[in-house]
Amino acid sequence: MSTISTEQIVVVGGGPAGLAAATSLVRTGARVILIDAGERPGGQYWRHHAESSLAAKHEELRIIAHPNVEYLAKTNVWAATYRDGVSTLHLLIDGKVEREIRTRTLILATGAYDRSLPFPGWDLPGVMTAGGVQALLKGQKSLVGKEIVVAGTGPFLLPVAIGLIMAGVQVKAIVEASRPTAWFTKLGALTHNDGKLKDFITFQKIIFGAKVKIHYGSAIVAAQGSSCVEQVTLAKIDRKFVIKPGSDRQITCDALAVGWGFTPDLSLAVALGCASRIDPRDGSLVIDVDEHQETSVPGIYAAGEITGIGGSALALTEGRLAAANILKAQTEDLLRLRGKQQIFANALLDIYGVKNGWTTWQDEATVLCRCEEVSVGDLRKAIVELGVSDLRGAKLLTRAGMGMCQGRVCGQFVAEFVAKESGRQVALKDLQGFAKRPVITPIPLGLLAKGAER
């Protein structure tokens, strides 16, 4: 039998939100099980290699050594259920051992991954997400190429480019879809976060010093190559992301790092029955929480990117707030801080918004679903000839989203593509249908047959 521990709080996710929650909890004597997929704590934001001194700088990264913390690294929750106030998590530890744990108090901080947009050639080796390129650099000191173009949108592109410059890479160009003038209407938001302004100025200085050009109001709209990317097409885009005719030119490179913001990873929260909603700021599916970070399921809290993209500072605050509410501690200061940080996050999502003109960048052969190799032509045929008008229909008739990633990469943009072709907005049920993943990560059948350790 598995034991139900009412005093043991389970935190899933070892990024800033989960670590902040765990840190606040153990300070008061609570016992915490911290589950993380990574081999070291930190998540994506604090990703570091084995010899890094990052842990000396952040108390949160050292919390795994606390006697009241049971830290499970390289651990995936492959399935989860909720019943009568108890969450049951089925764990796969290091791909080898299965274990089942139960808890009455759960904090979900499963984070986000890069949001992608499809374009011709985006499936070529050497084209990677911006986060992926940075993860390789920070976690492995490994470089995907020697001459790299960094493209997409968002404040994250600058640290990625700078990391590459510092590592000796020739960054051929930084391509940012938004325009710097977009900031003029948001200067008020900056007053809530002057540290970020200082970072931004430092970044600009380094990039200027390395003689790397930032192309604003532009996008990489195609990549070409035979066995891997050899060049990319740079084009100017208008405010709706439609390519300006005749503005395109080629850039030679051996890799492309491209990111269009982030997509929250809701698989676990959805499996546990937590209510979700479409975030009107960026169109992504997020977990609905009340002002105490509690989800629609009593005893299950959510913090960080899964409640809406907001960055690491906000994630830390949300993690602390979830912990404070569980401990019934004072929350006034945290609530005030969260409010300020949300204003800044809102400004960023507005400035670096993805507009649906991206649906004009593809040709009929462009791959949409990478796993199942579903092309734009395949999807359009299903819409025009077979009358598909929603994501479920698209999935059943084209297999888009039915591959091993379970729609994590293509779900949102296939939904947007179908909605646009059908002359409507993306519906909540489109995205919710894709986020339901009863088996969250693959598990060897042999382990399943053996049964879980309890």
Binding site: Q44, S142, C371, R408
Partner: protein, 88 residues
Amino acid sequence: MTQIRVILNGESITSREGQSVGALLLEHEQRATRTTRQNARPRGMFCGIGICFDCLITINGITNQRACVTNVEEGMTIQTQQGSGAIA
């Protein structure tokens, strides 16, 4: 840093403890980990964090492992794969 011997596509090479299979492949100028099942297109690491399942590769005879989240181990056999897992 502990040196590790692994076999990549039949060739014995040196890696080090903590290195991911994906990073090892990049070090050996090998961008593609596999070809796709239907159109035999080359694919390599894309998300780099275990989300996208694009960098599939055969490790110790087990097909469709993620190169980006699998670390090398002494004596590991790594084979780039064709389609759903016939050895390339």
